[in-house]
Amino acid sequence: MTVNGRSVSAEVETRFLLVDFLRHRLRLTGTHVGCAHGACGACTILLDDRPARSCLVFAVQADGATIRTIESLAQDDRLSPLQEEFRNHHALQCGYCTPGMLMAATALLAETPDPTETQIKEYMAGNLCRCTGYQPIVRAVKATAARRPK
């Protein structure tokens, strides 16, 4: 598979989860585990450009796939506009849900460059955050959309 632009090959047990492969084999620990049963979205990554819960995918199922994790958003240590807006808008407190939120929002903005508030709330409804009350996250996504050259 290709992970964050690099091709990776490894032998894994069939029951090894993709999230464990990313976190423990590749040491990409930015992807978090909040439930391991597909309910919180903390483990959201992009699998062939679509948001996916890496706790619900076995590593072997991702054979040949192209994967992007939170670690790919910043370019040469420069935060992406979405990351900057999350930071500026206090769209995080403990930060545990943040990588999953950012990956879901990345997918949303790729599909819908200028989403409405309702579209954002609905798209992000599968990603749980216990700290922020979501409104700063919605604002950060909107602000990112507003930054795109029209």
Binding site: L28, T29, H32, A39, L79, R87, H90, Q93, C94
Partner: protein
């Protein structure tokens, strides 16, 4: 100026880039994986734990039972011994070379542990009966509960009883019977609130390792209070404090629920195996054995005159504390109407043990429950007498100097001010009536936790400074600390680094709980920064041959006031105080404070909601929170606290509850079953700061964490009553529950 202006979070960049380090990210060489075997029964005798079943699994290293590792206190054991007291109680721990092997071993062993099942006591009403069997034979004042009685509610009458009632608090003034006789209207109701989980998104986690040379143990963990963890681990393992080091890593949410839980177990396993041990709960294990908010049954009988004057409050709260004493009895009793001026008052609260997991603190413990009952009751009385809900509350609101239920006077509070701001807000003055739309308000407060605290300020020779504290940053307090230090020193915020060091090196700070981190540690830090500033000026005065009083610091330069040409860089001052042969002592600021007086924080909620009569669904159309924050040092962080708390309140109001079946099995043991508010559930929300300055907090700041969650639930219940005429006395007001009431023609509000 840095203070009072919104500042971006210092740790924001590492959190948005995935670089922040959480406990689960830690991998130590030779590390073993621990997993726990949990009891499937709420009350049983353990007949046999055939350890061989687990030991056969390849990769397994060791299996321990309560007999092998008798750690913890009698009321709260790390591993059950002889009998289990709740479903989910750990009965054995396995250590394996991999997480998968540990999971396999747990599965094997769990299926063969033999129990003699007994009838559980699940209902606190049953547990209170004198003939009820004891949930635990040992009645101990629980250290954890005491430590988290953050509001320091001094009860006038506390007693310990040899039964399942482990605490009983009474507050009394006047003569309620007489007060009720004077009333034109007496209302009596029973209210209930469910067991609600803090549901931090990062599960409980700890990694422990030992130093073979010294025998010391180090614990890396997510906790709100590292010194408290150190003390509890030392006590559980009978070690001197110096032998235990707690290193707090980034915490993935706490809300009162991440203080101390599995750390003694992780430390014991590391010591027993002499290998590093990682113990991370799965989400289900976390829901089964961590410490949520208690269920509460409350009765209120209140009297009021036609003009809206309260004459008497008589109340009772029964907290289901689960298998160990930890309920917020004192705070609950203090806040059941204690913020209204009423001559006759009698409220008592009971803590009762049952065969469920022990409870713990969840944001504003005791306040959320008591306030739901009191503010619902206010709405019922106000409606019956045709009173304006805001005016009715204002008419009875306590003010500075009025007695609290414990007899102490209220310090300066903004109760009146938050209500007055609500009264003028367009969302209130412009109320529109429409089909199924209703408005509800409620107000409540948090007494404010207090504790002594210390901090220090170190200079570096490049002109940067390090603030060192022992306070855990759960909510953004590091950023606020940096703003304060920068303000005092006259430096840009980026010259300040804020460090939470570990229990071996940090100056003492209490747990980040009770809305007291900025209030106490921030105050100590302000003193430390002033101390450092004085030293800088003294050194500069000597070097510049000027008088100290003529100097000021601006933009990183010490300058002679009025003579812009004469200046010396702060970096240079620092460098001249720290080098070979230096003439000056190193700049080192220290600050410590005793527990300050409290500055209670009040907040009012205004909720506009629509009830769908077909489905019973409640949709919140608008929500405004009016909170007295004293002074917002970092308005962006304060705003975030209020919104986060208010959405948790929506969870309390409409959806959240841990549910058990009759056999004591948790039905909501996954995140798919336990409902949390989602982005799509959040209504348009406004936040209004009211700034009634505290006389004690830094810059007049008050604690802001707890207040925003307290009155959201009752404001929603009151809006529902206004919208459809149904008075819900139990939270959460789920669509199912409301529909049943609408169809059943429940008595009107």
């Amino acid at each position: 100026m840095a203070v009072g202006a919104p500042a971006a979070r210092l740790e924001g960049a590492e959190k948005v880039s995935g670089r922040a380090r959480y406990t689960e990210d830690l991998r130590l060489p030779g590390m073993l994986h621990a997993r726990l075997v949990l009891s499937p029964h709420p009350r049983a005798r353990i007949a046999r734990i055939p350890k061989e079943a687990a030991l056969e699994v390849p990769g397994i290293v060791a299996v321990y039972t309560g007999a092998d590792l008798p750690i913890g206190t009698a009321a709260r054991r790390a591993l059950a011994k002889e009998e289990v007291r709740y479903t989910g109680e750990p009965v054995a721990a396995v250590l394996a070379e991999s997480e998968a092997a540990a999971a396999d071993a747990v599965e094997r062993l769990a299926s063969v542990v033999e129990y003699e099942v007994m009838t559980p006591i699940l209902d606190p009403m049953d547990a209170m009966r004198p003939d009820a069997p004891a949930v635990t034979a040992v009645i101990l004042a629980d250290a954890e509960a005491a430590a988290h009685a953050a509001a320091s509610a001094g009860a006038e009458d506390q007693e310990k009883r040899p039964s399942n009632i482990t605490n009983h608090v009474t507050y009394k003034r006047g003569d309620v019977e007489a007060g009720l006789r004077e009333a034109d209207l007496v209302i009596e109701r029973t209210y209930t609130t469910p067991r609600v989980h803090q549901l931090y998104i990062e599960p409980q986690c700890a990694v422990a390792t030992t130093d073979p040379a010294s025998g010391h143990v180090t614990i890396y963990t997510a906790t709100q209070g590292q010194f408290f963890v150190r003390e509890q681990v030392a006590k559980a393992l009978d070690l001197p404090l110096q032998s235990v080091r707690v290193v707090p890593l980034t915490i993935g949410g706490g809300f009162g629920g991440k203080i101390q839980l599995i750390q003694p177990m992780a430390a014991a396993l590391a010591l027993a195996s002499n290998r590093p041990v990682r113990l991370i709960l799965t989400r289900s294990e976390d829901l089964l054995l961590s410490t949520p908010a208690p269920e509460c049954v409350m009765t209120l009988k209140t009297g009021v005159k036609k003009d809206g004057t309260l004459t008497a409050i008589e109340g009772k709260l029964i907290f289901d504390s689960g298998s160990a004493p930890a309920a917020p009895t004192g705070i609950g009793a203090l806040l059941m109407g204690g913020y209204y001026r009423v001559p006759h008052f009698h409220v008592e609260a009971f803590e009762v043990l049952t065969n469920k997991p022990a409870v713990g603190a969840y944001r504003a413990p005791g306040a959320t429950q008591a306030n739901f009952a009191m503010e619902s009751q206010m709405d019922i009385m106000g409606r019956a007498l045709g009173l304006d809900p805001v005016a009715f509350r204002l008419h009875n609101a306590a003010a500075e100097g009025d007695p609290m239920p414990d007899g102490k006077p209220w310090n300066r509070i903004g109760l009146r001010e938050v209500l007055e701001r609500l009264q003028r807000h367009p969302a209130w003055t412009g109320r529109e009536t429409g089909d199924g739309v209703g408005y509800g308000i409620a107000v409540g407060g948090w007494p404010g936790g207090v504790e002594s605290a210390s901090a220090c300020m170190r200079a570096n020779t490049d002109g940067t400074f390090q603030v060192v504290t022992g306070a855990i940053d759960v909510t953004g307090t590091s950023t606020t600390f940096a703003q304060i230090a920068a303000d005092v020193l006259g430096l840009p915020v980026d010259k300040i680094q804020v460090i939470t060091s570990d229990t071996d090196t940090a100056p003492y700070a209490g747990m980040s709980a009770g809305s007291k981190t900025l209030y106490t540690v921030g105050a100590a830090l302000q003193i430390a920064a002033e101390d450092a500033r004085r030293q800088i000026l003294e050194i500069a005065a000597k070097e510049m041959e000027a008088h100290v009083d003529d100097l000021e610091i601006a933009n990183g330069q010490v300058r002679v006031k009025g003579a812009p040409g004469r200046s010396l860089a702060v970096a240079e001052v620092a460098a001249r105080s720290m080098r070979f042969g230096a003439k000056h002592p190193p700049i080192f600021g220290a600050g410590s404070v005793p527990s300050p007086k409290t500055s209670p924080g009040f907040a009012a909620h205004l909720v506009k909601a629509r009830v769908d009569r077909e489905t019973g669904a409640v949709k919140i159309l608008g929500h405004v929170v009016f909170q007295d924050v004293g002074f917002a040092v970092n308005p962006a962080a304060v705003d975030g606290q209020i919104r986060g708390g208010a959405v948790q309140a929506i969870g309390w109001g409409l959806i959240e509850a841990m549910r058990y079946d009759e056999s004591g099995t948790l039905l909501t043991s996954t995140l798919s079953d336990y409902p949390l508010p989602r982005a799509s559930d959040v209504p348009p929300m406004d936040v209004e700061f009211i700034e009634v300055r505290s006389q004690y907090g830094p810059y007049g700041a008050k604690g802001v964490g707890e207040p925003p969650i307290i009155s959201g639930g009752p404001a929603i219940a009151n809006a529902v009553a206004d919208a459809c005429g149904v008075r819900e006395v139990s939270l959460p007001i789920t669509a199912e529950r409301l529909l049943a009431a609408l169809e059943g023609g429940r008595p009107r509000a």
